[in-house]
Amino acid sequence: AQSVTQLDSQVPVFEEAPVELRCNYSSSVSVYLFWYVQYPNQGLQLLLKYLSGSTLVKGINGFEAEFNKSQTSFHLRKPSVHISDTAEYFCAVREVGQGGKLIFGQGTELSVKP
């Protein structure tokens, strides 16, 4: 059965520093991968997605993620964070051809300090 693990529940970082939020998944078939962001008191917003093709995916707000099939990972990165990036980030996976259900990770709370 597919599952998603976000390896860090909280990531504190100083403004303008780089950040990496880690995500690993388990699945025996091809997958689609997503990162969502949730700002305080809001719903989830799609940050980026991997469907096929290039393993480096660029998203909104300067974020990017790299799909690594051999390591079953989809880590999210940003070279220089801003205070406004403070939010909770969710990794999600869906098996190709298995309908519309997403499996979410537990979430990583990114806290950017001045």
């Binding site: 976000q6 529940s9 689609y32 997503f34 969502y36 008191n41 809001q42 719903g43 989830l44 917003q45 799609l46 997605k49 469907l51 969710f90 869906r94 190709v96 051809g97 309908g99 519309g100 259900k101 997403l102 979410f104 990770g105 537990q106 979430g107």
Partner: protein, 113 residues
């Protein structure tokens, strides 16, 4: 601009009450989903629907039911609210085609006292 709306942002109910949470999408999406979000547990799927009048159980359906009488509206019902159903409830919708990208509403924070 795509939009998913939920009837209430905050709701306080008493134990034993019947609770209705409403979700409406304006994107003509076939699929709709209800999740609950709890700290440290991420999002867990309660129920989903692939079409009008169709529903399927998610991972945690106990204590909940749903209704989808129209394509744009998906209701979550707590038949007899309990304190362990205090949570954030998120509705989402997606097209009925790959890759089924989901769009989320703002959430309803339900407190059961």
């Amino acid at each position: 601009d795509v939009k998913v709306t939920q009837s209430s942002r905050y709701l306080v109910k008493r134990t034993g009450e019947k609770v209705f949470l409403e979700c409406v999408q304006d994107m003509d999406h076939e699929n709709m989903f209800w999740y609950r979000q709890d700290p440290g547990l991420g999002l867990r799927l309660i129920y989903f629907s692939y079409d009008v009048k169709m529903k399927e159980k998610g991972d945690i359906p106990e204590g909940y039911s749903v209704s989808r009488e129209k394509k744009e509206r998906f209701s979550l019902i707590l038949e007899s609210a309990s304190t362990n159903q205090t949570s954030m409830y998120l509705c989402a919708s997606s097209r009925g085609l790959e890759p089924y990208e989901q769009y989320f509403g703002p959430g309803t924070r339900l407190t059961v006292t």
